[in-house]
Symmetry: C2
């Protein structure tokens, strides 16, 4: 994607509004926030992802001659405005929560501070990228949790929503905790492990299953996972695999990484039977891998039933986040800078209460319990507010202000999680590698209480407002409802 | 996508199997079928889409120097095989059902006849492309049906699963029946109408709602849709819109295309109230558009309740096919050519009965009722079977063979729906434009009975096997279960 020009990957209304601002306004500097309202998949948390692709997008942002020509052809843009577009570059500042960080609803994940014409244009692509990758990273994190330490392989490319969904979905899946992906292009572009063995067609292309297994084992003795369900798993597949493993053992070519893959039937029953057969034949270290419409719920359940599976290939349900295929991030105006350089908070009210925004130029402090290192709460406040951790910190639920928690000075630590990425058009951030982000993400998840990681009805993490932000919001709401 | 090299957009196992075939086999010519097992979204039919992108993919298929280098670095491929890859091009034949055609489960949507190494490689990308676009075209077709003739605008880019999902999703949505998309890049690349007006941020950036509306109306008098829910739809938004429309009327600049958009609250109630207010002010031709988490079910229900909405912007639920975000197309070996050039049928059985494949080199005839032009059934048969429509045609359900229908000679017509796209590596097919495909798709849907188009529990269309194919399949199953 880094070399693609995604400048027109935007909604038409961004451009009609841009022209509107061009004609009517002074291109004031504004603050827009990206935030989401609910964790996907009924999760207790989400995982931030996509920042590197946002950076690529912003760096490449320009209207080519063909782009301007196309827009001219629509007959709704003036030559003055088209001229402005042809010289367009992004001159604003962008703050973002680094990839792999655990995130919660209502928090500004990305903050754009830019002249309104520029800030408006980038809305759609930023949302598209962050929504997609954060969704898949979050879904993956749930699947990985369910597997209780077993490896999860990302196998979803064929069912992903187009090439990019497969490619960047694999990237996000690695951030969320997969041990590898089947996607070769993702392996090449993101330097992540690629995995896979063979399909049913391999078996069917030989005169019989034994011959297919045998030939495969000769070729790939070091990573020999045989797919055993083409004809009959327990009557044909597993016995033929055992015959081949036995011959490999006799020839002294059996490796540390060998085993079978189940891709249909009841995985709990078949895996236990197959385990027994493999063990009886002396192949106690043969791995049993499984695939076939897996997700975190089914893996959780198979684990509960003692399925003898220790490696999981997860496709469709992970790469599309099947039970919740969109992240729901939005991009809302939060402040307008006045002539004195002050950010004047703005709010959007709505018939739907949950659509009301948090006004102002904000940041987020994450509050940790000093002893355990676990998250106590996140605190959204104005960007210029500071906290002294030697003093008591009062936290309160913005939706039920009588719910108060006082943290004594010295018992907590805080960390600002929104980081500068672009300052006045210049990128000042270097993305870590995907595997580094994945490692950071593993540490991030250790800051969550187990109750928050639970798959079903997890405990929610408190996201509070500072007193000053709460008061400002209340005053604006009062004003508007007068 | 046409200029992108998607050659490595494949699962690793395609390459390990390719090397396996390279080492062990004579690269026999094989037949692979793409088919799906169930219509998505509980639909009675699906819509074929993505063929043009498959063509682009096949035409661009080659391993670059960097690709080969990356594969070498994995340490599992021989220099001989890598040398073969560096000279790789696709030399096979591909047949496909044209885009916009209504399709049904079990039918070969795409048939690849090629040396097994080539046929295996292309599996993943073909599935990725066809699965994605057919999914979104099908979902869109349902939404369009629910709207009973009102226009559906595709507004989903920000929630699509990555840039391609937005871009090709918009393409598929136009094929499925949308009147336009907000996606400017899709407009440019596919020459389809782009639509959109303004967001809440436009309203919030002016000193008040009236001023924001007024400025917008000055700029875009010819397509003036005002978003009325930023502060209070009925108390502020609609009255301010009416004030502006009144002023436009006085100045003589009111156009044919003007109106309001609702984006929150109860759309049935608000639209009826807004309609009354607009009508009382004499703006009976003002359009009421709506958006906000719409799908076919909600549009159907709002229509039932008499919502005064005649234009619908559909985003997340359409672009992700939220209730069923994957199409489930698979790619299965169906035949292997022997030395005499004969295609020997192959079958895959499975613990899951519905995963059993249809063997052989096949085609599909669509059988129409001569009088009404409606589809009677689809008939999957061997590619060399022919039918004489002056004679009686016996159709039978392959899962319940006693269910028989006899069509008298002269009462039906038939049409082969699988068309040649590539022959021996050469593309012989020219894709129509997206708008031409959309028009064709509209006609295709007229060949469906209303019972099949119904949103809930639709009547299914029969997909039968020819006697010869049925007998061959039964014999192969008998053989394998002996």
């Amino acid at each position: 994607m880094s070399t693609q020009n995604l400048t027109l990957l935007t909604d038409l209304y961004e451009l009609t509004m841009m022209q509107g601002y061009f004609e009517t306004q002074e291109n004031e500097t504004v603050v827009f926030d990206v935030f989401f309202r609910e964790n996907p998949n009924k999760s207790g948390y989400s995982i931030m992802a996509g920042v590197e692709q946002v950076i690529d997008y912003i760096k490449n942002l320009h209207f080519s001659y063909e782009d301007v020509d196309y827009l001219r052809g629509l007959g709704i843009f003036s030559e003055d405005f088209l001229h402005y577009l042809s010289g367009f570059h992004f001159s604003g500042s962008i703050y973002a929560i680094p990839e792999g960080t655990v995130i919660f609803p209502k928090e500004p994940l990305v903050k754009v501070i830019a002249p309104i014409m520029e800030a408006q244009l980038v809305e759609t692509a930023i949302l598209n990228i962050i929504n997609h990758q954060s969704l898949i990273a979050t879904k993956t994190s749930r699947v990985v949790f369910a597997a209780q330490g077993d490896g999860i392989m990302e196998f979803g490319l064929r069912r992903a929503q187009g090439p990019d969904a497969g490619l960047y979905g694999a990237r996000a899946a690695m951030i969320g905790g997969c041990v590898g992906t089947s996607n070769v292009l993702a392996g090449k572009l993101f330097d992540v492990p690629v995995m896979g063995t063979h399909a049913h067609s391999w078996i069917m292309s030989f005169k019989d299953e034994y011959t297919a297994f045998k030939e495969y084992a000769k070729l790939y003795p070091d990573a020999c996972t045989l797919l055993v369900d083409t004809y009959d798993t327990l009557k044909s597949g597993v016995p033929n695999a055992i015959r081949v493993f036995r011959e490999m053992r006799e020839e002294g070519i059996i490796s540390k990484h060998y085993g079978i893959r189940l891709d249909s039937g009841d995985l709990a029953y078949l895996s236990k039977q197959a385990r027994r057969m493999l063990d009886e034949a002396g192949f106690t270290d043969a791995v049993i891998a499984a695939s076939n419409d897996l997700d975190e719920m089914l893996i959780h359940d198979l684990k509960m039933q003692g399925a003898a599976i220790t490696s999981w290939g997860v496709g469709t349900n992970l790469i599309t986040s099947k039970d919740c295929p969109s992240f729901g991030g939005v991009y809302k105006l939060a402040a307008i800078q006045n002539a004195e350089g002050e950010f004047i908070p703005k709010i959007k009210i709505s018939e739907n209460t949950e659509k009301i925004t948090n006004p102002g130029n904000k940041t987020i402090y994450r509050v940790y319990d000093k002893e355990t290192g676990k998250i106590r709460a996140d605190l959204i406040c104005f960007a210029d507010e500071t906290y002294d951790t030697s003093k008591e910190l009062l936290l309160f639920d913005p939706n039920a202000t009588w719910k108060k928690t006082r943290l004594a000075g010295g018992t907590y630590t805080i960390r600002e999680i929104l980081k500068p990425i672009f300052i006045h058009g210049e990128c000042i951030y270097t993305s870590p590698s995907v595997m580094e982000i994945a490692e950071y993400c593993r540490h991030e998840k250790e800051t969550l209480w187990d109750e928050t990681k639970r798959l079903f009805y997890p405990h929610r993490v408190y996201v509070d407002l500072s007193q000053k932000l709460y008061d400002t919001k209340a005053a604006l709401l009062d004003d508007l409802s007068r």
